[in-house]
Point group: C2
Chain length 439, copies 2
């Protein structure tokens, strides 16, 4: 099976766990059988690999998420990076070209496109495999998944099938309706549109060549910023007469808000927290290393991270976005491909950060114009390069870098450092990168 | 007026703002007219000095609070330090001897003893002045304040006066009653015992000499740990026939729990927090530098500090103590006489701390056996002494101290440093102090 996972969104609705560079799909919130926690993207990836160990998985995403994807899924997962946001048709065309031209998938094979963040069980990916197989038959150019509705939701688009058989041609598509209209649709046998569809690679490649002048993946990538913003629905689905839909009746949840997310938590508390016996329906997700005590609360979600603290009635939590939008905050924590960082202290003319590098990983070779930096190694071993000179470092070593010094560090074992930045204009944009070859 | 303020307790009931070394009286929670925040002890001290600018104020307390007292009230306030806890009679005897022998207050002057943490207005200290004046007359050996009850409280002891005049002899004392008994007392004209009483110094000094063999303050201090634990009520009040009570009917609150404390907050929020419009009766005290968002909460208190986070129904908040007792936590923040520190990061073999020294102040000259330390100066100027050698330091300077190195730093201007501690057994007790003369 070939599968493209669409990974988008900055996910402010799950603040303080999600932020501009950490989307909700990267939050480690689901307990695995061995007691660790995994994120939505890790859960989905694991489920796919369980259903089909040979699945070719490609994640279509923006530049900002690449580090987090490699940090969580390793280096072997395929990533199709959109150089900029150009809506779903260009994104799917680019990912399809990537599968064909980079991953070497033959043009007559089928692929399924699926959001990265549904909360599902393995039967969902079994159904996706069937979708792929159905697309391979060539009876239709597009095969959609139709999810059997459990209530007249106003949040989803609807698919009206021609028949009630497992696989049916599509009669029509309906935009998100009000509850009453949704009930009418459901009485006619309508299904939710979960944004999942399969096709043969050459079908979308041909559509792309019709609409865009390009030769291959690399050419499409290089001119991506010149493409017109257009949705896959508008560019392809609405004009396609040969569409089928396959029913899916298993568990399927869209965990977009704290309210729905907490419903899927196996236990009320993640992290260090105590709930007294007068708490009811309380969920806590605490990423800080200090305890939370909750007393006498009902249907409340509490979440604390280096970015902030949310305390909300569960119903109310759906309305969080405008409040988060108003917060103009520095990123306090991030996972990068090489490890992670956390801001420990912010002063007017200094910034103190804890940097953790994974074994074998290094930062970009870079310099700053307007700030000096000091590294205090607190654990592990590594190799530091300063203006071309290499030096082995370990616990207790101090590395001083004046503004202008080219520097990098590579971890031999897991390497932790306290980084002190000093200057009047400390800014993430004050960074010049150099080739690794220059080291 | 001479006044002894009794400052005790570790105050876990206002966790996470109070902890083993920061009692509730030091939490800056009351907005002053110039927009700053002051603590209970600062508020009370300011009120006393407004009512009587020449008042001699002595704070009777334990060693653990001395730094915080000087940090908040300056160096000029009198402090009578109990070398260990020995109940109220030894503590009051020691403070009285301190007033006489150290502060030079004549033995025939009167003094009033008062808890450090009542939430009151200036009329309370006017009443206290009258109590002092009444004690000076010598009509009685002890003059108590009786607070006119506003409801049949079960939390206070009661004083039954002989008459309903402003100053009356005491008929009897009653222990904390149940609500029904309290109603009976009140119908007989009983008053709350707020723990405030005045006497002439020589009265308590004589009682002390009767019960304890000592010459003066210094002698009493040196043998303090050998004294029997006994309360002032038991040792003095219960055996004293000549006792008067003076009525007080002004505002008086005991802010011992989050429920009562939040009632006295002038505004719902202290620190960085947003309440949406569906919140009712919500108070937030946020000492962290990240925002808190509250949505759809009713009668809830939220408090966040470097020690932890409390989210509690206001009523329930009175029952917090056992939950805090269960938390075995490192002190994450403290005010010292020389400034303050905050723990930024805890690892198995390292600890990272932000140290702020007030101008002109320095640490003890000290060394550690089992840990190396590094100071990264991030703002200000100071003078560092390492094994007797002095050195001026400023922003960007790095000071390395191997285990065994004697070290200290004195701030010239406000000095901020990131201190990295490295070692296998990092422990607050690994500290050897040296005389300043050794520097």
């Amino acid at each position: 099976m070939n599968i493209i996972l669409l990974s988008g969104g900055s996910g402010k609705r799950l603040w303080p766990l999600s932020n501009d560079i950490r989307s909700k799909q990267f939050i480690k919130i689901f307990k695995t059988s061995d007691g660790d926690y995994e994120s939505m993207v890790q859960r989905v990836y694991r489920q796919i690999k369980t259903v089909d160990p040979n699945a070719t998985v490609t994640i279509a995403t923006s530049k900002a998420q690449v580090s987090a994807i490699h940090n969580q899924l390793g280096e072997n997962v395929g990533v199709s990076v959109e150089p900029c946001r150009r809506d779903t048709f260009p994104a799917i065309a680019l990912a399809t070209a990537y599968l064909h031209d980079v991953m070497g998938v033959p043009a007559d094979e089928s692929v399924v496109v699926c959001p990265v963040d549904p909360y599902v069980e393995e039967d969902y990916f079994e159904a996706i495999k069937k979708l792929c197989d159905q697309a391979s038959k060539g009876e239709a150019n597009l095969v959609l998944m139709g999810i059997e509705p459990t209530y007249p939701s106003e949040k989803y688009g609807y698919i009206i099938p021609k028949s009630d058989s497992e696989t049916s041609e599509v009669e029509s598509f309906k935009e998100k309706p009000d509850a009453k209209t949704a009930e009418e649709y459901i009485s006619k046998g309508a299904l939710w549109n979960g944004g999942v569809f399969a096709y043969k690679l050459n079908y979308v490649l041909n559509k792309a060549h019709e609409l865009i002048d390009f030769t291959d993946y690399h050419d499409l990538f290089s001119k991506y910023d010149t493409l017109t913003k257009i949705s896959f629905d508008y560019a392809v689905v609405e004009n396609e007469p040969k569409i089928q839909v396959m029913r899916f009746s298993g568990e399927w949840k869209d965990l977009g808000t704290w309210n729905t997310l907490t419903e899927s938590m196996d236990q009320p508390v993640i992290g260090d927290a105590v709930l007294n016996n007068t708490c009811e329906g309380v969920n806590v997700v605490n990423e800080l290393n200090v305890p939370i005590i909750c007393m006498g609360l009902k249907d409340v979600v509490v979440s604390a991270s280096p970015e902030g603290i949310l305390v909300s009635d569960k119903e109310q939590s759906s309305y969080i976005k405008p409040y988060v939008d108003k917060i103009d905050q520095q990123i306090m924590f991030a996972e990068k491909s090489w490890g992670s960082f956390r801001v420990l202290d912010v002063e007017e003319e200094s910034l103190t950060i804890k940097v953790t590098l994974n074994p074998g990983h290094g930062m970009y070779y870079h310099s700053h114009m307007r700030r000096n930096e000091i590294w205090n190694v607190i654990s592990g071993e590594g190799v530091v390069t300063l203006d071309g000179k290499k030096r082995e470092v370990g616990v207790g070593d101090i590395i001083e870098m004046k503004a202008g010094t080219k520097h990098t560090v590579t971890a031999v074992t897991e390497l932790k450092m306290i980084e002190v930045q000093l200057g009047r204009e400390i800014n993430v944009h004050d960074k010049k990168k150099f080739d690794v070859a220059d080291r």
